[in-house]
Symmetry: C2
Subunit: 350 residues, 2 copies
Amino acid sequence: MSRQVKLAVIPGDGIGPEVIAEAVKVLSAVTRESDVSFDTTEFSLGATRYLETGDVLTDDDLDAIRSHDAILLGAVGGTPGDPRLASANIERGLLLKLRFSLDHYANLRPTRVYPGVPSPLANPGDVDFLVVREGTEGPYVGNGGTIRQGTPQEIASEVSVNTAYGVERVVRFAFEKASTRRNKLTLVHKTNVLTFSGKLWKRTMDAVAAEYPDVAVDYLHVDAATIFLVTDPARFDVIVTDNLFGDILTDLAGAISGGIGLAASGNINPDGTFPSMFEPVHGSAPDIAGQQVADPTAAILSVALLLEHLGLAAEAAAVTAAVTADIAARTGEKRSTSAVGDAIVASLGA
Amino acid sequence: MSRQVKLAVIPGDGIGPEVIAEAVKVLSAVTRESDVSFDTTEFSLGATRYLETGDVLTDDDLDAIRSHDAILLGAVGGTPGDPRLASANIERGLLLKLRFSLDHYANLRPTRVYPGVPSPLANPGDVDFLVVREGTEGPYVGNGGTIRQGTPQEIASEVSVNTAYGVERVVRFAFEKASTRRNKLTLVHKTNVLTFSGKLWKRTMDAVAAEYPDVAVDYLHVDAATIFLVTDPARFDVIVTDNLFGDILTDLAGAISGGIGLAASGNINPDGTFPSMFEPVHGSAPDIAGQQVADPTAAILSVALLLEHLGLAAEAAAVTAAVTADIAARTGEKRSTSAVGDAIVASLGA
Ligand SMILES: CC(C)[C@H](C(=O)O)[C@@H](O)C(=O)O
Ligand SMILES: CC(C)[C@H](C(=O)O)[C@@H](O)C(=O)O
């Protein structure tokens, strides 16, 4: 009785195709002898596709992607400042459009300091936390506008939209995660300044907390949270926060854990109405593309998140263990992107 | 021919009065033999005052403060979670109200890693940068609202308001600062997501840059900026950014430079229409108040910024030198708040 998973693969731009090749290699290897098989469809999307066709993400693209069980994405975005991309916004038009259209309301971003990885922090301590970043609301909604553009009287606004519906479901999801981990949940916001949305987040947190008496909760302003991320990152278990704060905190988290070359993420639609999407936190890094120098580890760890999401816990654990072993064995010697993938595949059995 | 400076002093709450006592001590000492004298008026404002009188900041308070040449503020805010403060918002009602009413559009936050100060970073490098944080616009305007509060249909919004007028003046100010330093200015924003305000900031930056051909400019998304702050903070000279991003980046900057116990700030009204206000970046820390354990250095460095703002460059340099010497001589031995102030006063002449 074998299970078929329809996987949409979006290699994207820059180093995306290179890291995704390794991620797919690991995915095939780890599921070779299991009763699940992945039926992958590749989607050519991103800056390269836009420059060729003028399309960023069509309704047909979206429909086709939606019919899959999950999505694996490399990285999208062209060379910063490329004038041919000036009027396109690949980030909003592709990446955010996928996250919003597929209702990826829980963006999972785990951070660990792996043994053997040099952190920029002198004493990072035992770092192992998970950021649950809201993915469909907040300042990311694109709700805003400009009047008198280009004149001295220009006014540009951005509206952060926060709903009880949206906040509650992601807070609830974060409590669930915390209760499978170390039972600690930190809300990060800026309630003293962003009082309208802050009250909603805080009140929701308090209400849901009553249902999870075993989870200890605390609250930090976003500015204070960045301090703790560099002075005492080991204090965190699960963090729940809005879309923009989550964006900022997870890049910082990636940096302290030794670089966003290791940071994986899952854009989750917990309801299962739409396919969830897994991607490294890093960007397309066009400056180093095509040279086989990119580290595919974040993409491979995104595969582990994908496997876990699909309920394939043993396979997920195998990938994580192989990555951990590979990282611990690093000597500082440079390896090609595919050599890293091969090494991780080789240690999968071990 | 002596010059009189009318200084409003707001010691505030928690450790505020303790650190301000030392700051005023240093201010008196450094100007004792100069031809400028400070005529100080103390304002009792903050959580303590609110709990006594029910007032946060009255129009009379504001008028009285406005008639001064400058303001020195300790820290305001009561114990987090104090139910008696639940319906007051000391931050918005006092601190932000002062910044907005007095048109403090350039919030100056310098960061240095002083010799002898342990940084949480393994290799901070030679860190010496200045964040120019916009102070009167952005997501801090308090423009937002809530409908259906407390129901499952609640919607809470926050509007970030950005004007050509407001962005241009702070960008211009930042270029001026950069041109008196190492001629490098980095704009930090999130232009790929906050496209309306992002375009305004980017376009303004480009336009003003044309007038400052000697200043090299670059741009970072806020998430990437936090990465560089921990991996290569020495790359920065001047950063210009909006109110919220500036809040986040400067706490992080304080942390990497060895703690916000050393971080000073100036809320500047460059036009001189209203008094500028100088304050440590840290909060009121009610948990350690009244114990003479708070480090007054950030408040004392705020006095250096105040002196510089008033054109008293020699006095400002003397304070900075005395602080630098005091920091370098630290042995790790605990000193009382006033002992630190005394030591800095003692080395002022040296
Ligand atoms: C590329 C950009 C739109 C995106 C975001 O801001 O979410 C990225 O920074 C991320 O964190 O995945
Ligand atoms: C207390 C708070 C309103 C304030 C701010 O957000 O500006 C503080 O964090 C700061 O950075 O001065």
